[in-house]
């Protein structure tokens, strides 16, 4: 489903963020990418979202080379990928309900779908009673759950979670990870980047370990080893 083919990324000043990275992700998998800050995790995510272009190599999503997609079709690609970020990235001027509705509107879904799906997905992340709250009125954990609800509402093929627990306390971290597992159980592929050892060790899923832009380990049922 996702295939990194010998991807390298060199920024100005000869800083190599990625060096010759190759791996693939099957549909329905839950993979974690771990590594210290600066290991290249976020660069990988940006490649998948077509925010960055590789200096050499190619990234495929469902056998389409992401970086050959014309700019106008990038939206279609991004709608197939749900994203969750460390800093939540919610629209501050819109309520929890409107934030999720926006993702559905952007995908061209009907008003009926929005009215039925948004409350449903907010129930799923246990925020049914906070629909009309603005992000500023929610805790970090709640904001992240809104972001997860937004990421899954269009039933994407894959959800990319880039350090989703980085700003959360242990209780909220546990809840967010449980939600991601639940989504994976329903059949959605999950790509999680993190440097939280506890999260990785409790998951018992595939782990790709990165260091200084290179993949140094790829374990079927891995642990956090760095």
């Amino acid at each position: 489903m996702i295939y990194f083919d010998r991807v390298s990324k060199v920024y100005a000043g000869d800083t190599a963020a990625l060096q010759d990275v190759s791996f693939s992700v099957e549909a329905g998998e839950f993979i974690s990418i771990v590594g210290h800050s600066g290991a290249g995790k976020t660069t990988l995510v940006k490649m998948l979202l077509a925010q960055e272009k590789p200096t050499s190599g190619a990234v495929f999503f469902e056998s389409i080379n992401i970086h050959e997609v014309p700019p106008k079709r990038i939206n279609d690609l991004r709608r197939k990928i749900g994203t969750v970020f460390q800093d939540f990235r919610l629209l501050p001027g819109r309520t929890a309900y409107e934030n999720i509705a926006f993702a559905m509107e952007a995908a061209g879904r009907s008003e009926e779908d929005i009215h039925s799906d948004v409350p449903h997905v907010l129930e799923l992340v246990d925020l049914g009673n906070k629909m009309s709250n603005f992000p500023g009125e929610l805790s970090g954990g709640e904001q992240q759950r809104v972001a997860i609800a937004r990421a899954i509402v269009n039933q994407p093929d894959v959800v990319i979670a880039d350090e989703p627990t980085g700003n959360l306390d242990p209780v909220n971290t546990f809840e967010v990870v449980q939600i991601l597992k639940k989504i994976n159980d329903l059949g959605t592929t999950i790509v999680l980047t993190t440097h939280n050892k506890g999260v990785i060790d409790s998951l018992k899923k595939r782990v790709i370990t990165m260091d200084r832009g290179k993949v140094i380990r790829d374990d079927r049922e891995g642990k956090y080893i760095l």
């Binding site: 979202l49 106008k72 991004r78 001027g93 926006f102 509107e105 952007a106 008003e111």
Partner: protein, 310 residues
């Protein structure tokens, strides 16, 4: 674009406009400043134009006839003047009318009236007052009259005096022509500079307003929203800013022109800005609302474009 999308865009535009109240207010205030300048430019333009017109209308040429000039000769001259393409208007004041006007003008001066009685006869000749279509054309009209006098050869000329031919008068008219032309150009340039400056300020304010939304724009992009779908609500917001600002400006001009109305009429003569505003309200409405809406929309379009690249 279908109906549902259009509805969503307008709803989002209205919501953002309302919820970002302070930013919207700042943008509206700046836009009012711009539109006010445009409105003032319109008033200045019309005041300048009517004042210059007044000046031009006051410049005319008086052709004085001798007291013994037969009326048919005067009428002949009047007809030939009227036939000239340069002449806008020729009015005839007969000897009797000239005398009556003279008496009226000096009705409080017994000395002059007594002197007039003592003369017994009417000392005043008939007068033709000529208005040219343009200031520069008095020269050729005067030449025509002199030429006609020369052609009459043997007969004595019935024209006593053409007051245009007075050198000082001629210089004054020439100078007035130059002054009015340069006044019009300088006025126009100053107005254009003002309008351009305020438009630039307004564009910048809108850009700052949208700058504060640049993170939101990048989030929208990541969620998979198309460029047009992201941009359109901002344009709606810009149009709302322009619309609100233009309506406030139109309201402001009402008491302002009322207050300045008689003052401008006394000072510049001819025009009362209050009545001008009322009678040309559709024009002001069209220009101010049109420029407000256009400015708002264009500013938003350009500002969002910068942040849509991700």
């Amino acid at each position: 674009m279908d109906l549902v999308t259009t509805k969503r865009i307008f709803r989002a535009g209205f919501l953002d406009f309302w919820r970002n109240g302070f930013v919207s207010l700042a943008a509206i205030l700046m836009m009012i400043f711009t539109l006010f300048t445009i409105g003032m430019a319109m008033f200045t333009g019309v005041i300048l134009q009517t004042t210059l017109q007044e000046f031009r209308d006051k410049a005319d040429m008086n052709v004085y006839f001798t007291t013994d000039a037969p009326e048919e000769r005067i009428v002949e001259v009047q007809a030939s003047l009227k036939a000239l393409p340069e002449v806008a208007e020729v009015s005839y004041v007969s000897r009797e009318e000239a005398l009556a006007a003279f008496r009226e003008r000096h009705q409080n001066n017994q000395l002059i009236l007594q002197a007039l009685e003592a003369l017994g006869d009417n000392p005043l000749g008939a007068v033709l007052t000529v208005k040219a279509k343009d200031l520069s054309q008095y020269d050729s009209i005067a030449n025509f009259l002199n030429g006609q006098g020369a052609l009459q050869g043997g007969q004595t000329s019935v024209i006593d005096k053409i007051n245009y031919y007075d050198a000082a008068h001629r210089v004054a008219i020439d100078r007035l022509g130059a002054v009015t032309d340069s006044a019009r150009w300088i006025g126009l340039i100053i107005i254009l500079i003002f309008v351009a400056a305020t438009i630039a300020i307004s564009l910048n304010t809108m850009r700052l307003a949208i700058y504060s939304s640049r993170d939101e724009i990048s989030i929208m992009r990541l969620v998979g929203a198309g460029q047009a779908y992201i941009r359109a609500p901002f344009i709606v917001e810009g149009v709302l800013v322009g619309l609100s600002a233009s309506l406030v400006t139109l309201l402001l001009f009402y008491p302002l022109t009322w207050w300045l109305g008689s003052a401008t009429q006394d000072f510049f003569g001819g025009i009362n800005v209050f009545y001008y505003y009322l009678s040309n309200f559709p024009l002001f409405f069209g220009v101010l609302v049109g420029s407000g809406v256009l400015l708002g929309a264009v500013a938003s379009y350009l500002a969002v474009r910068r942040y849509l690249t991700i």
